[in-house]
């Protein structure tokens, strides 16, 4: 898993490539938590390069969403790969996350 972040004034974008699973989910969680601690409650997950997303990763998406929503923010997705969106859908979580066709639209949604 490779993870990068981009912080804008009101939004932060987290881009992940590779596998988000029990091996890597801690790093994923820590990255998100750092952004939240910095005051970023509007989060865009760029999952365009994710090729495996297990329940360990989904759990972090769900808990992060809960945290930022308590602060008036949200977690949205930008251009999720077919596999990332399949994981979300199979787990029945697709209703929770707005998904945008690209990062610009996801950033602009806030």
């Amino acid at each position: 898993m490779e993870i990068t972040t981009k912080e804008y004034r009101r939004v932060a974008v987290v881009s992940v490539s590779g596998r988000i699973d029990t091996l890597t989910s801690t790093q994923f969680e820590e990255t998100i938590n750092e952004l939240i601690e910095k005051g970023h409650f509007n989060l865009v997950m760029d999952l365009s390069e994710v090729d495996f997303l297990s329940s360990s990763g989904l759990r972090i998406l769900v808990t992060s969403r809960k945290k930022v929503r308590e602060k008036g923010g949200d977690v949205v997705m930008a251009n999720p790969s077919q596999r990332a969106s399949d994981s979300v859908e199979i787990a029945g979580l697709d209703k929770l996350f707005m998904s945008y066709p690209n990062r610009e639209e996801a950033v602009g949604s806030f």
């Binding site: 596998r19 699973d21 029990t22 769900v62 929503r69 077919q82 399949d86 029945g92």
Partner: protein, 149 residues
């Protein structure tokens, strides 16, 4: 019909190789891209559970996968020697709200939504989990049913 087998020590980083084997067997079964991924996902979930909840830590035990494929059919059998646990009981789907989504229990939900058959046996101190998936050539729906409509 093709049979492949692989045994890994119970480390998180080893799970990927069982997903890869599942992928090869699913290709062999002529599944579509998305069904192949769904099967890999299910095996990944089962393995994460065996390490996290079965053995409860890394490195003390093994996980063995046997994959049997024929056109349209895939049978995956996972063996481990952790304490008995039956994942074949279909999880009751909690009536969760958008404001209170589930954070646990997703692994079993995924396994049951992806696979057509989930069978558990405990034989000689081993958990034996058999996961079956069928996909006909005219590409049936990849997921049995939707949880939410």
């Amino acid at each position: 019909m093709a049979v492949m087998q692989l045994s890994i020590p119970a480390y998180h980083k080893e799970i990927e190789s069982l997903c890869d084997l599942t992928g090869k067997a699913a290709v062999d079964a002529r599944f579509t891209e998305r069904t192949i991924y769904a099967c890999q996902l299910a095996i990944g979930e089962a393995c994460e559970n065996i390490i996290n909840h079965g053995y409860k830590q890394e490195g003390i035990g093994e996980i063995e996968l046997t994959a049997e494929s024929s056109p349209g059919n895939l049978i995956l059998v996972l063996r481990d020697s952790a304490p008995p646990f039956n994942p074949a009981i279909e999880p009751s789907l909690p009536h969760w709200q958008e404001e209170d989504p589930p954070v646990g229990g997703l692994g079993l939900i995924i396994i049951h939504r992806v696979m057509d058959k989930v069978k558990y046996q405990r034989i000689k101190d081993q958990n034996i989990l058999e996961l079956r998936k069928t996909e006909y050539q005219d590409s049936l729906p990849r997921i049995k049913r939707k949880l939410h409509s």
